[in-house]
């Protein structure tokens, strides 16, 4: 009755009197539900409620320069592996905003996502598959006061599941695009952009034995230069003393540097990147854990793999305590019609990344720091000494990989991948195996186009390693019937596990139906415990046995 009245009233208010006549109303839905069976062999627990669901509904209304939007989220209860904090409220509206976009000014109030530069000093974003959403709730103003000059200011606290961070974040970012600012440079081949950011967080010190700074400031400077096929960029970040749980409440400042150089022309591209990071955990809550309440985002310097065995067993995420690394990425397309290129051409991609710890000398021991003890040798509670340009001798991650993609005929394509990785999983995954994992991975990915609408794709993957869980084999067959259907069957087999009882199969079958912007999929089988990462931020996925339903739709 009440809903009915409101419904009619809202129709009257919003539709009949023309307030939103001509408005554009759009949104999307995403529903992800799992049903659980107990499977003690793979470690899938007995889930008392037998099922979990994460669901999202977005709506955005735009009329002229005015935009408003909201997102409803439901966790009934959260899918296994997502933070139980989501379950504190089964359904609600954690995200809503109003925005006015004028010619020179853009104002948002409410929830918003923002990134300064490369995001290393400030980035709020949403990654639903990770259960990550550190949206700001506050005010953002963006201005373009003069051509080529862009300024942004934000203030707010951050989303913490169904709550907000107690700490406030204030940020300011400015950027100058010289080719827009200077008319004489408008058509120049040389393109230059400079930017700088200032970010500060405020959080009450509370009653602790240590005296915490309530305001923590940080800044960043960046520049990018392009000349023809060349591009060069740099960003430096610095954070003043920020004792926090990650760094054992030391007062040492944090810093980081990202450098990237690129050259490309038709058929060839190369990118070299270097990065160093020291003590750059930056959260709006000094006691934050896991992926909670990060103000910044530190992109990892390694290839983002796509094949199952290469992505979910030994992935790499940036170690904000301290790391230094380099990466090289190259792509070359051998021309079609040549001996090596074949009739349709062949693409070769190679990638190398080498990441080590920073050379670090402890001043205080961890035990001394954890007891909140000030020692004479470390009166400023700096914790350690390190030079951000000196690598230590501990390998965190190394990856060498090559991928050859060739079309053999109108009907058949084959992609061959080889990966060699060295992963210090005691550091990256928090295990205690006492050795690095050395793994070789080979993948054959074949696509056979039966006819205009029918195709069959197969993936054969194998991992050879003597450490941790030993060898893995993976096989998948996917049948595609364009534009509506996919049927996939896959199995992973840990036949090389040192423990005979853990030499298990993980079979899964999936059917997906796609109609325009709606996709519905149903899967049934065993899900291996692993690490799921997006953009180098990872979430452990627990072992599961059961059905998964996923529905996405945009309107």
């Amino acid at each position: 009755m009440v809903i009915g009245t409101l419904f009619i009233t809202s129709r009257h208010v919003f539709a009949q009197n023309g307030l939103l006549e001509g408005a554009q109303v759009h949104g999307n839905f995403e529903i992800y539900a799992q049903q659980y069976n107990e499977d003690s062999l793979i470690g899938a627990p007995n889930v008392p409620e037998k099922s979990g669901m994460n669901a999202f509904g977005n709506i955005i209304v735009t009329k002229g320069k005015f935009t408003t939007g909201a997102r409803i989220e439901a966790y009934t209860p959260p899918v296994q592996g997502f933070d139980p904090n989501f379950g504190l409220q089964p359904i609600g509206v954690p995200y809503r905003f109003v925005q006015y976009t004028g010619d020179q000014i853009d104002i948002t109030m409410g929830s918003f996502y923002e990134q300064f530069g490369n995001g290393m000093i400030l980035r709020s974003y949403e990654e639903r598959a990770l259960g990550l959403d550190n949206a700001f709730d506050g005010v953002r103003i963006r201005m373009n006061p003069y051509k080529g000059i862009y300024v942004k200011g934000i203030i707010g606290n951050q989303r913490f599941y169904w709550q907000k961070s107690t700490g406030y974040v204030r940020g300011f970012d400015g950027e100058i695009a010289l080719n827009e600012l200077l008319e004489a440079w408008a058509e120049s081949k040389l393109r230059l952009t400079f930017g700088g950011s200032f970010v500060s967080k405020y959080e009450e010190a509370g009653l602790r034995s240590l005296v915490y700074p309530e305001n923590v400031a940080s800044w960043a400077a960046r520049g990018q230069l392009n000349y023809g096929g060349f591009a060069f960029l740099a960003e430096y970040i610095y954070k003043f003393n920020d004792p926090n749980a990650d760094n054992r409440y030391i007062y040492r400042p944090g810093q980081g540097l990202l450098l990237s150089a690129t050259y490309s022309q038709k058929g060839f591209g190369i990118n070299l990147t270097a990065k160093t990071i020291d003590n750059m955990h930056f959260r709006s809550n000094r006691d934050g854990q896991l992926n909670d309440l990060f103000i910044n985002y530190l992109p990892p310097l390694s290839r983002q793999h796509t094949y199952n065995l290469a992505t979910t067993l030994y992935p790499y995420a940036t170690q904000p305590f301290g790391e230094i690394g380099i990466q090289g990425d190259i792509i070359y397309k051998i021309k079609r019609g040549t001996l090596l290129g074949g009739k349709y051409g062949t693409t070769i991609q190679g990638n190398v990344s080498l990441i080590n710890n920073l050379d670090t000398q402890n001043i205080s021991t961890h035990a001394q720091l954890e007891s909140d003890e000030f020692i004479d040798a470390d009166p400023g509670r700096q914790g350690y000494e390190a030079n951000i340009f000196t690598p230590g001798d501990e390998v965190y991650y190394q990856d060498f990989n090559i991928e050859i993609d060739r079309k053999f005929s109108k009907k058949f394509k084959l992609k061959t991948t080889y990966v060699y990785m060295v992963s210090n999983i005691d550091v990256t995954l928090g295990t205690a195996i006492g050795t690095n994992v050395y793994a070789h991975i080979g993948v054959l990915d074949g696509l056979y186009k039966v006819s205009r609408k029918h195709s069959i794709r197969t993936e054969l993957q194998h991992m050879w390693t003597e450490q941790d869980q030993g060898n893995w084999a993976f096989a998948m067959v996917e049948y595609g019937y364009s534009p509506h259907w996919f049927v996939t069957i896959l199995n992973q087999y840990n036949y090389g596990n040192p423990s005979a009882i853990l030499r298990l199969n993980y079979p899964t079958a999936q059917v997906a139906y796609v109609n325009n912007a709606t996709r519905v999929s149903l899967a049934y089988g065993r899900q291996r415990a692993g690490i799921f990462c997006v953009g180098g931020v990872c979430r452990p996925v627990p072992a599961a046995n059961g059905a998964t339903i996923s529905i996405t739709s945009s309107f």
Partner: protein, 171 residues
Amino acid sequence: MKINALIFPAIFFAFFELSAQDGGRKIPDVTVKNLDNSSFQTGEIENDGKPIIINFWATWCSPCKRELNTIAEEYQDWVDETGVKLVAISIDDARNMHKVKPYIDGQGWEYEVYIDPNADFKRAMNVNNVPHTFLVDGEGNIVWQHNSYAPGDEMELYDLVEKLAAGESIN
């Protein structure tokens, strides 16, 4: 909270009703990056009254690359026959955005490419997952969209582009 629970669905349904009646949906105006890292407003995407394909992809997304590499083989014919333009929106973030230009040059793509490093345009277009393809008619209205890619989808897409180029309705 109680009030929220009642008002929200009511407003939602009113909007839903509106959405059924709204005339063409336009491309929202959001700031993305050019390949040289300068800013670009998506409201300025246009193609002289000819159809536009907007495709969301990422360097880490295999089906996306499969789709765009397949279209790349035919793209020159598509442009010659219909005047269509493909705008590829990379949602790669700071981890991979510097590899976008080498990748597209390496593959020899002739598309117009922008980078959406914090997913602002993706959100404004209500994209859940990549690949996600939109078709825009000569008047700038979004008239069709499709999520995911199966080999062969590009032919259905091109059939629709041909219809649009000939001035026919595709709905």
